[in-house]
């Protein structure tokens, strides 16, 4: 597979996963806020957390003075300048798909194109709380339809593996973000947040990863912080658990081959998971540092994958210089499709720097 194409597929998958995850996040928060309404004096949870999770706080406050529900959801759903919004994510996934459509079953393009057009048309005006649910469910369902189509029709080849690779990496990243922000809040101050509320909050975390039912079936019917944390970090069988995502990445790398460096990083991630003392973390001792460490390793993993597959040095003849107006200003030859932005989200902890190209 061409390096240029591989990179586009990888990013297309990341954007698509990001769109779905963002929709889930907003949806779960929406539900939780309704549940929390009567006890809101405690404010154990608020919409602003979504900005922290998505690493978009700085960008948001650069253009908004205050952060209310409508402004934040509108920002995450339809902001045309925020690269992580659902609308922009779909636009970028579509643009990446457009240049690689010959690699996929044609319905893939049709589905994604339709989803983008529907979203764009819905986003011409603000999506009020009454329509929000329906809209987010539509986005999630159609993302699943695309994934389902590719999963049930594509040959298990490098293209498919590259797509899964991007999807699992993005998903693992999202799990650490959700746990970092929500977890930190919930694991503290037993006195402030009483047990029923804490459980409801853990339920929100599970729901934002569509994990509530699976948790109950696999772990136990009772919601308990330490069990939820163990489930979402270490479960081998739940597809939205961190470990499952990392294992998925490892399998894809194994299939594509030649990725010893990247596999080394995955081994380090697995070591950390194995050695993690979940009970201690659940007592909120070092959870943030632990998740931060995982995010840094995921970042390294991404860099290494890029160097291994997309940015290899070609020996002998240098690549042809690219045309100024047509293929953008990128100088490294291999990744010069500058029209397609590469948006790595900053980790939860560091301020957003606005960088959009890799």
């Amino acid at each position: 597979m061409l390096s240029r194409v591989a990179e586009n597929i990888y990013w297309m998958a990341r954007y698509l996963e990001r769109v779905e995850d963002t929709a889930r996040l907003v949806l779960a928060t929406h539900h939780a806020m309704l549940d929390m309404a009567p006890v809101s004096r405690i404010r154990p949870m608020n919409w602003e957390q979504l900005l922290a999770i998505t690493g978009s706080r700085e960008m948001f406050f650069a253009r908004h003075l205050s952060a209310d529900e409508q402004q934040i959801t509108s920002f995450l759903i339809r902001d045309e300048e925020y690269p992580g919004s659902i609308l922009r994510g779909l636009q970028q996934a579509r643009e990446n798909f457009r240049t690689t459509r010959e690699m996929f079953p044609r319905e893939g393009w049709e589905f994604l194109n339709r989803l983008f057009l529907k979203t764009r048309s819905a986003c011409t005006q603000d999506i009020d709380p009454a329509n929000r649910l329906e809209f987010l469910e539509m986005v999630i369902n159609e993302c699943l339809m695309i994934i389902g189509l590719l999963d049930s029709t594509m040959v298990r080849d490098e293209t498919f593996s590259m797509f899964r690779l991007g999807r699992y990496l993005e998903r693992a990243d999202m799990v650490t973000r959700i746990l970092d922000v929500r977890g930190a809040l919930m694991l503290t101050r037993e006195d402030v947040v009483d047990r029923p509320i804490r459980n409801a909050l853990w339920l929100t975390v599970l729901k934002s990863l569509s994990g509530d039912q699976m948790y109950r079936r696999r772990v136990r019917p009772r919601i308990r912080g330490v069990d939820v944390l163990a489930f979402l970090l270490k479960d081998k069988a739940f597809p939205r658990a961190f470990r499952y995502g990392v294992t998925g990445v490892a399998q894809c790398l194994e299939f594509i081959g030649g990725a010893d460096m990247a596999q080394g990083i995955i081994a380090r991630i697995e070591d950390r998971l194995y050695l993690a003392d979940i009970t201690r973390l659940a007592d909120n001792t070092g959870l943030h540092d632990f998740l931060d460490g995982l995010q840094i390793l995921l970042g390294e993993l991404h860099q290494t994958i890029t160097r291994t597959y997309f940015d290899q040095e070609v020996k002998k003849t240098p690549p042809a210089p690219s045309a100024g107006a047509e293929s953008g200003a990128s100088s490294n030859g291999m990744t010069s499709t500058a029209t397609l932005s590469r948006c790595l989200r900053p980790p939860v902890t560091t301020p957003f720097t606005g960088g959009t190209s890799a």
Binding site: S3, V5, W109, E110, V314, T317, P319, A320, E326, S336
Partner: protein, 488 residues
Amino acid sequence: MMALPNTPISYLTHGVYDELNMSSSRRGTGSCQLLSYLERLGQDELSRRQDVAEMTIVNFGITFTIYSQGENIDRAWPFDIIPRCMAESEWRRLEAGLIQRTQALNAFIHDLYNGQKILKDGRFPGEVVLKSKNWRPELCGMMPKYNTWAHICGSDLLRDKDGVMYVLEDNLRVPSGVSYMMENRMLTKRILPELFHNQRILPVDDYPSQLYDMLASLSPRAGDKARVVVLTPGIFNSAYFEHAYLAQQMGVDLVEAKDLVVDEEDTVSMKTIHGLQRVDVIYRRIDDDFLDPEAFRPDSMLGVPGLIRAWRRGRVGLANAPGTGVADDKVVYSYMSEIIRYYLDQDPIIPNVPTWRCHIPKERKHVLANLDKLVVKPANESGGYGMLMGPHATQQERDQFVGLIEANPRNYIGQQTLTPSTVPTLVDGRIEPRHVDLRPFILSGERSWVTAGGLTRVALRRGSFVVNSSQGGGSKDTWVIADNDRGK
């Protein structure tokens, strides 16, 4: 005049050849089923189906691209649901005529680069070729496989008011439109499925397989499965949709110039996630000028350095071959019947549009004296640029062309003005006659193959002859209806 009984539509044509009227007056040809079917559907249902078609086009992302102000805009493909019909018997004759033309053209190009016998025999004026901007003297002596240069050709056919099909031009460089031909058929099958039950409409979906086989046969390496790629200028090109479509349909990689490298052994490779991999055949959708900065345009930043070198050494196959454009020229076109007679010793099956060449004094005189009746075209442009439509031009425009022609007579031809035939077309819910042309695609390699029908382009504006999609043109499905199944 003819009325469609169940609709308030009257379908009027006068002074032109209308393919539906002509067909229906000769009961038994393919169009008659279509006619009665449209009558039964009625106006509302027809409009509804047109809406479904347009929705499908948007959802499927069938687009052409317009690049403007720094961004590319995808426009939905303009499509008319009423197919254009043709009887197989007529089509077979056209098919033979198209194969005859491309064989003669290939022989002509090969001769120009290898010996120039036709010039030495005085059957073709040398200065016409040797002064052409598409002539590549550095390629002389090059012997591509099967002595074939124009592997993919798209010829434009027009039916004049006398009912005769003429060849308007042969596009030998990078003709486009074939993907829309296939998409139009896909749409018609969805929109008017009933019509496919009682008559056999020759399928068009075989094109990608035929194209792939032809391209693979150009591989310089024997044995192993050839690695074929489609080379595109990129997503901003107006035909990018087609480039991606063809790569997808053939199951090959779609590459950009920056994905390819040529090494010291003149091997062409593409950059993959596993390093460099050899490429055997390139279906290039880039003009000669931008193919290789080492060869033709040192100032060009586009292209793959060393590609022509690799091709000349027989290390890679290129379709169409560099240098083919020399025959994509209106003056060469005007000699088509001589070229066919010279190389094939046959009479042309499809006539040319009567053409006068301005580099011949007597013919130039005729053109200058009849500027108000003729169409004047520059020899080397495609896409309708720089033309004078005599009957519709102002005196000032004609005067301007007198100057242009006298300054550079080699670069101009005059052609008889044709009135393209009309076919029924849905316009704002009414069926009205609109002018059409037809572009079949001809593949030439070890053997020749022609699409069944081709791409019918239609001028959607009343009275307009302009079929370009960027200027109010649309397209229709083209049905070649098998003769033996007719009238069932």
